[in-house]
């Protein structure tokens, strides 16, 4: 397995603990250091703006009935790459965010790794 993501600090925002645990396990296997997981927008926004070092983020789109886009905006402003995770796939994203790296639930390790690397602009060549 590639170690391209070894040691990266990745923020997780996901309201369902079991899904968060899955993401945590998968990121752990990739050698990432997990920040969070945050289960609501307020905590997520705090992490996105106050965490000193963030290499990437995995953002659930619908977090306890609220949309994650304010957090996405904050990360974008900081230049932190991120990946959306949603049950709807890219079709669930507003026009504005179409084309952004997205993983669809349920997900595979490969899909998560590929999306993160795409967002972080890491290539294996």
């Amino acid at each position: 397995m590639t170690k391209a993501l070894q040691g990266r600090r990745v923020l997780i925002i996901e309201d369902e603990s079991l899904v968060a645990m899955l993401l945590e396990t998968i990121l752990d296997d990739m050698g990432c250091e997990v920040i969070g997981p945050d289960s609501n927008i307020d905590d997520g926004l705090k992490s996105a703006t106050t965490e000193a070092v963030l290499d990437a983020a995995l953002l659930d789109v619908n977090v306890a009935g609220r949309e994650v886009f304010p957090v996405a905006d904050a990360l974008k402003a900081r230049g932190v790459p991120f990946v959306f995770s949603t049950g709807y796939g890219e079709a669930g994203l507003p026009e504005h965010w179409r084309g952004h790296p997205t993983i669809q639930k349920p997900f595979t390790e490969g899909a998560i790794r590929d999306a993160l690397m795409k967002a972080m602009n890491i290539s294996l060549a």
Partner: protein
């Protein structure tokens, strides 16, 4: 002679006064139907009815109406001061007089006294067989007269058809309106249209004045365009902001409708026929359905991700496929049970005791004591607590009080702090083997901790004591305030 809309004399010329032998000051302001009641005899009521019907037709349609022959005896003042009925035949045309906005304000009656003509015709009829009209007959207008009579019959038939057609318009469940002229004066509309516009009195008024709230919504422009081009216009599920209750906010309705040009005999476009249906209910139902499908999709995908997570985490703690399958299956079944409970309440919520019973009955009801008030859990809380109780019960059966013969589990719960209500649950095991903190935290206890903290925004403490395991869980019931 001129009548106002109440059918009172508003004016007349000298000829009218001479024919009727009345004085202007005696007639002005008087209702015509009282001055002339149709005469004596059996035909009087019918005579009066026909005259009144013609006036009403002009008032309601705004179009002129002709009566080729009207038998209408009138009262005449005799030179000796008495009044006698004089048998008269009239031919008259009733023409509407309109104001700037197209509203009928008066009816102009142009009357010809054709009594002499009629008498002559009758005499000729007596002299010769009816089927052989003479030259004289033609000359003095018998032919013309017959034509007039047949036009009259046609008119009556057309009038009946027109009324039937109008009845159909009036009763059709869709809305129907006829708009007249460049200002789109509302000439008629049916009950459904009346309901759509909140039963306002709009007849005879231009649409821009009658329904001012439509300004800027495109409808006036579509009407102008139909009138200008003759091309029909169709609207599908078009939203309209409309005043349905006086002084209330505008209501949003959705309409399927068509605007069709109305042409006169010369093929000129003189109006617009409006016809359609209020489809608001079905538009709202379709929106609701889309929302539900989106929500369903969201839940299904999240549930699949949850199952995926359970599979992955369970696999990591079970090398033996058989025990993996057993544990995995029981976790999925637990999730499924809670869903069953929620389905019963149409996903409105579930009772805490029922969730507990569902997760623990497999271990024998007599070994568990559940004690606490009725507490309604929202669906997310019910799912989380279902999984938590499943893990607690599984652990108790494997390592704790339910693993030995006499062990029992006491579950107590209550609500603390009524200003900021918290649900406090205590799971206490007794009579089992002494337990100690495990060296490695398994998926079960991680799931409990994470679920309480992450999904329920609560706290959990687990005590491994010689006399049994204890878990204390505190959950805020008002998540917004937490």
């Amino acid at each position: 002679m001129l009548l106002d809309t109440e059918l009172r004399y508003a004016g007349m010329n000298q000829a009218y006064l001479e024919v009727t032998r009345r004085r202007r000051e005696d007639l002005l302001g008087r209702p015509i139907m009282q001055e002339y009641d149709g005469g004596p005899g059996a035909g009087a009521a019918e005579n009066a009815r026909r005259l009144l019907a013609s006036f009403q037709k002009v008032l309601s349609t705004g179009q002129s109406d002709s009566m080729a022959v009207l038998h209408y005896p009138i009262l005449i003042d005799q030179p000796d001061g008495t009044k006698t009925y004089d048998d008269r035949y009239w031919s008259c045309t009733h023409t509407p007089v309109k104001d700037d906005s197209g509203r009928v304000t008066h009816i102009l009656q142009n009357t010809n006294d054709i009594t002499e003509l009629e008498r002559l015709r009758r005499q000729v009829g007596k002299l010769r067989p009816q089927e052989m009209p003479s030259a004289l007959d033609s000359l003095i207008g018998g032919g013309m007269f017959r034509r007039a009579m047949s036009v009259q019959a046609d008119n009556r038939r057309l009038e009946i058809e027109r009324r039937q057609l109008q009845d159909m318009f009036m009763q059709t469940p869709g809305f129907v309106a006829v708009l007249n002229g460049p200002e789109h004066v509302i000439q008629m509309h049916n009950g459904a249209y009346g309901q759509l516009i909140g039963h306002r009195d709009v007849l005879g008024r231009p649409i821009r004045e009658a329904l001012p709230e439509l300004a800027g919504q495109g409808f006036y422009d579509f009407l102008d365009e139909v009138l200008a081009t003759g091309e029909p216009f169709q609207g599908r599920q078009s939203p309209v902001q409309i005043q349905q209750t006086p002084n209330a906010l505008l209501a949003t309705r959705y309409l399927d409708f068509t605007y069709q040009p109305i042409r006169n005999d010369a093929a000129e476009i003189i109006g617009v026929f409006v016809q359609g249906h209020d489809v608001t209910e079905s538009v709202i139902a379709a929106e609701r359905q889309k929302l539900m499908i989106d929500e369903l999709n969201h839940r299904v995908k999240n549930t699949l991700a949850t199952v995926q997570s359970i599979a992955m985490q369970t696999a990591r703690s079970h090398d033996d496929p058989r025990t993996f399958a057993e544990t995995f299956q029981s976790r999925i079944m637990s999730l499924s049970h809670t869903h069953d409970l929620l389905t019963r309440s149409h996903w409105e919520g579930a009772d805490l005791r029922e969730v507990l019973e569902h997760e623990t009955t497999a271990h024998g009801l007599h070994r568990l004591t559940l004690n606490g008030p009725n507490i309604s859990l929202d669906p997310a809380m019910a799912v989380s607590l279902g999984m938590i109780f499943h893990e607690l019960a599984t652990n108790a059966a494997k390592y704790g009080a339910l693993s030995a013969g006499d062990g029992r589990v006491l579950v107590d719960w209550s609500i603390a702090d009524l200003n900021d209500p918290h649900l406090a649950i205590r799971w206490r095991e007794t009579g089992g083997p002494s337990v100690s903190q495990p060296e490695r935290r398994g998926f079960g206890s991680r799931l409990i901790e994470r679920n309480v903290r992450h999904d329920l925004a609560g706290t959990v403490q687990m005590h491994y004591r010689d006399d049994g395991f204890i878990a204390e869980i505190t959950i805020p019931l008002n998540k917004e305030a937490a």
